[in-house]
Every structure is written in structure tokens, then in C-alpha cells.
């Protein structure tokens, strides 16, 4: 049975210094509230893994949570680069294990299937040459096929629009590599926008991400993905994605932002209240509500 706990307890119980963690979600449903709580609890020496580190990992890198990053695209899409990530790599403070998107997904597929590696049609480039490209010979066709090693995060955390009391997770919209990241993990935990009675979403089979028996614990965290978005509930805070570039370019203003908006607020509720109420009006979901 999935335990339902507070966000602070969820992170305290399941995320510990030195772990490999995967906070999943491609552009959509990025678990910002959970990442901020990891910063607040001063958990360090993490290996952060995510295909797209996005602003969340930039903030966690700036806050000193990470020793290592496993990733495939560390940019701020449509805006530019991730300033804190850039500083950490250029100064040699962050170790990186870098892949392409397809390779990252293949690593998770192997992890989820309890296989040591996964084959894919990845042609040689400097990335694979740099890490030492590995191949196998197909026993059927004798073709040489590239392989990548399994990735099994100690903990994967996903953010979903809904869970029922049994911990069954339901997602609407883009999933990216969420499911593979969830199933590759030793321990899967979740934050959700809202918990509904057990069985209440049995008619939404196509929205089931994973069944509750795979989810160890969850916390209810409304707006837990801001400034990313939750389809049907609230829009991506595009203006903040642009603003972050300005904030984080200067290490001092980056540090100040993390102090003011994460460390000095008690919890995610307090973070939400720091914003002007009108701000939330501008992020109201377009095109109707969640189709439950």
C-alpha cells in the first residue's frame, strides 16, 4: 500500500545524500516542489539524472546538492543555456555522464527490464567516442549494434496530476521518459496535484502511468510542478523560464534567489504564496479543465 505523507516526510524518508535520483518529466510535470524540498533539507552529493535537467537541476546544482549529473540535454529550451550547470561544468565542480536522448531512454529501458544493457541504432559521434563506444554483434544478423548500460536510479520521483488513495498514478499529456524512469528505479515515489478516492479513476485506463503497487509513498502537492506545467490544470510559466536566465547568470543573484524563494520559505505552500495572486491567474489552464 502506498503511504501518503507530507512532502517533507517523503523526502526525509526516501532521499538521502549520495543517492542517484531521477526527478522525471519532460518539460511537463517536472517535480519542482520535491526538488526544492531536497534543497531545503540540504541533501548533498547526489547523482542527479534526467534527460533534460531543466531549471530544476540548475537550481539544485546551484544549491550544492549534486556531485554528478547524468543527462542528454542541459538547456533552457527556446531561451538558452543553464547558467549554474554551465558554471559548474566549466569550473570542473560537476562530473558529467552525457548521452543522447535515445541513449538515455535506452538506459532506462534496460534498467526497467532488469537487463544489463540495451541495443539501439546510435551511430558513432564524439560523445560515444569520448566515453568509449560499446557494441555487440547480433547473433542473428551479425550486424554490429551500439549498446548502452542500464540506468537504475536509487529513487525516481514523478509528479502526476492525480493519484487515487491506493497510489495508482494518472497522467494527462506529455509523458516523455517518465514511465521508463519510474520503472527503472529501485524506489519510486510521487508528488501529485490531488489524491482522489481509491478506484475513482478506473474508467481512465489510458491515463494510468503506473499501478500503486510500484509506488512506495506519495505526497499531495498542488502546483507542485510550477514553473513547469500540468496539462489541464495550469500552464508553463514561460516568463519565469526566461527570467531564470537573468537570475542565474550572476552567481550572487542566483544564490539570493535560492535563499529567498526556497531556503527561507517553510514549504511549497509558502513558496506559492510568495507570488502575486495575479500571477496564478495568468497561468490558468487554457483549453478546458482536466478530463477526469
Amino acid at each position: 500500500m502506498t503511504q501518503k505523507v507530507s512532502l517533507a516526510q517523503l523526502i526525509r524518508d526516501e532521499v538521502h545524500s549520495g543517492m542517484t535520483v531521477y526527478l522525471a518529466g519532460f518539460s511537463h510535470l517536472i517535480p519542482f516542489a520535491a526538488g526544492h524540498e531536497i534543497i531545503r533539507q540540504e541533501i548533498t552529493h547526489l547523482t542527479l539524472s534526467r534527460a533534460t535537467p531543466d531549471l530544476l537541476y540548475d537550481q539544485m546544482i546551484a544549491a550544492g546538492c549534486a556531485d554528478r549529473l547524468i543527462f542528454s540535454y542541459a538547456g533552457n529550451p527556446g531561451v538558452g543555456l543553464l547558467p549554474a550547470f554551465r558554471r559548474a561544468v566549466e569550473s570542473g565542480q560537476l562530473i558529467i555522464d552525457e548521452f543522447t536522448h535515445a541513449e538515455m531512454i535506452a538506459r532506462l529501458d534496460a534498467g526497467a527490464a532488469h537487463l544489463p544493457f540495451w541495443p539501439l541504432r546510435a551511430e558513432p559521434n564524439d560523445l560515444s567516442r569520448h566515453r568509449g563506444r560499446k557494441t555487440v554483434v547480433c547473433p542473428y544478423t551479425h550486424e554490429t549494434i551500439a549498446v548502452v548500460p542500464a540506468l537504475n536510479p536509487d529513487v525516481t520521483l514523478v509528479h502526476a496530476q492525480r493519484a487515487d488513495e491506493a497510489g495508482n498514478l494518472y497522467v494527462w499529456g506529455l509523458r516523455g521518459e517518465m514511465k521508463e524512469a519510474a520503472l527503472a528505479a529501485q524506489t519510486l515515489i510521487a508528488t501529485v496535484e490531488k489524491v482522489v478516492p481509491a478506484g475513482a479513476l478506473r474508467h481512465r485506463q489510458e491515463n494510468l502511468l503506473v499501478p500503486g503497487f510500484r509506488v512506495k509513498a506519495m505526497a499531495e502537492v498542488p502546483f507542485g510542478a510550477h514553473p513547469s506545467y500540468a496539462q489541464g490544470l495550469y500552464e508553463r510559466d514561460t516568463a519565469f523560464y526566461q527570467e531564470w536566465n537573468r537570475i542565474a547568470k550572476d552567481p550572487e543573484s542566483c544564490r539570493r534567489w535560492i535563499k529567498t524563494w526556497i531556503k527561507e520559505v517553510a514549504d511549497h505552500q509558502a513558496y506559492l504564496q510568495r507570488w502575486d495572486p495575479e500571477h496564478w491567474e495568468t497561468l490558468k489552464a487554457k483549453g478546458g479543465s482536466l478530463d477526469e
Partner: protein, 248 residues
């Protein structure tokens, strides 16, 4: 009078044909693909590496995973399906990409400037670009022309072009490069050559702003027709759809 950037976007948009399936990269290619869909290619199938199939956005998306791409899309696929079962299985016609650097052979760099172990500038990295470049049936690259971006040899090969020995599973690799100065193709040896100039620009400028002497194709070099009022108006409309406070 249109800006060089707008001319480049309009020129790139014209290279996309109706009904083609185009895998759209982030940044300028995203603007150009959305423009093409509002001009001559209304049935262009916009595919995004986030998993969106046949997007029909009512606004210009800033990222490639925006909600506006999902609303009214034909569907959303898990990334694993999009990459392994569509892109890498040969179902994408056009890869539409940007990059930080491009070289003689159309190799693309979106990883680092300098050396990998001690980078001068750490860029975002490959994302899906490497697979797109080797799996799409043809690749169109759109990027601003500058001496440190059109280089003889990229600092890092993120996505392979036509260099000897390069393998592309499904397609012939880079087909066109649209820059702020001109449109380029590749000769029989896979080396870049100038095909057309953008209005207001000269071959001398191309030579001046490139890290090697890009040859002209062996026939007269015409100039791309200037953007029409309609094209520029549509581009203006597209920019105007961005949320308040957001710049393109």
C-alpha cells in the same frame, strides 16, 4: 525591410513541403516550422522529440514540450516510441535542426566550445539531434552565419554529417543549410557549397564570415526571393502569440 533573422526564418520555412513529417528542433527551426504551417504547408506534420505528433499550436511554443503543442495535436507518444519506433525506424522525412557550430561536412556541434574535458563554453548537449541527423530522410540546418559558427572543423561532433565513414541509418544526412547569408548544399564529396544568397548579401560576406573558403556551386548563384508581405505578416502574427512578457 526585414531583418536577416526574419529572412532566414522565411527562407527555411519555404523548404518544408506540405504533408511532410518534420521533426522540429528547438529555437529558430521551431519558429520556421510553425511559420511554414501557416503559409504554404498547412498539412505539414509537426513532430517534436517530446513525443508530440502532428502538433497544431495556436501559439508559438517557446519550448518543444509546451502545452500549446499538446492541445489540438493528433496525439502524444512516449519518447521511447517516438525515437525507436518512428524516428529511428525511418518514418521522419525532415530533420529540422539548429546548432552552435557547423563544419565543411555538415557535422554539427551543440555540446561544447573548446575541449570536452575543459570546455570554454558548455552548451546544452545533444538532446535528440544526433538521432535526428542520422535518421531523418533529409536534414535542414538553420543557424545564424558567423565566423566562429561556420568553422572548418567543429570542436565536437554531436551530430555526424557527410565526413568520410559517417553512417546514417535512414537518410543521406545534411541536405540544406540556411544561414542569415545564404542557402547551402553539399557536393558529391559531401563538402558544403553555396547555392543561393539571401537578399542584400554577397559571396564576399560569406567568405568573410566563414572559417573556410566555402565554394560556390558550379552554376550562377541566384538570390533567394525576398520575404513577401504575407510571409512577414504571418511571422509577425506568430510572434504576437507569445505570452505577455515573453520575447521571441
Amino acid at each position: 525591410m526585414s531583418s536577416d533573422r526574419d529572412q532566414m526564418i522565411v527562407t527555411a520555412a519555404r523548404l518544408l513541403n506540405n504533408n511532410e513529417r518534420v521533426l522540429v528542433g528547438v529555437g529558430i527551426p521551431n519558429i520556421a516550422a510553425n511559420l511554414a504551417k501557416r503559409l504554404g504547408a498547412p498539412d505539414l506534420v509537426l513532430v517534436y522529440e517530446s513525443g508530440v505528433i502532428d502538433a497544431n499550436p495556436d501559439q508559438l511554443p517557446l519550448s518543444i514540450g509546451d502545452g500549446t503543442l499538446v492541445r489540438n495535436a493528433l496525439g502524444v507518444l512516449p519518447m521511447r516510441e517516438l525515437f525507436f519506433h518512428y524516428l529511428m525506424a525511418g518514418w521522419i522525412d525532415v530533420g529540422f535542426l539548429g546548432a552552435a557550430q557547423i563544419d565543411v561536412y555538415g557535422n554539427l556541434n551543440s555540446t561544447i566550445i573548446g575541449s570536452y574535458d575543459a570546455p570554454r563554453v558548455r552548451l546544452a548537449g545533444a538532446g535528440g539531434a544526433s538521432e535526428i541527423a542520422t535518421s531523418a530522410r533529409r536534414t535542414i540546418i538553420v543557424m545564424e552565419h558567423a565566423r566562429d559558427r561556420f568553422v572548418e572543423r567543429v570542436d565536437f561532433v554531436t551530430s555526424v554529417g557527410h565526413e568520410p565513414g559517417a553512417i546514417h541509418s535512414q537518410g543521406p544526412g545534411p541536405w540544406r543549410v540556411v544561414s542569415s547569408l545564404g542557402v547551402f548544399g553539399f557536393d558529391a564529396r559531401g563538402r558544403m557549397q553555396l547555392l543561393q544568397l539571401l537578399p542584400g548579401h554577397t559571396y564576399e560576406e560569406v567568405l568573410d564570415l566563414s572559417g573556410w573558403a566555402i565554394p560556390r556551386a558550379p552554376h550562377a548563384i541566384p538570390t533567394v526571393p525576398a520575404p513577401t508581405d504575407r510571409e512577414l505578416a504571418q511571422l509577425g502574427h506568430l510572434y504576437a502569440t507569445l505570452p505577455k512578457g515573453v520575447v521571441s
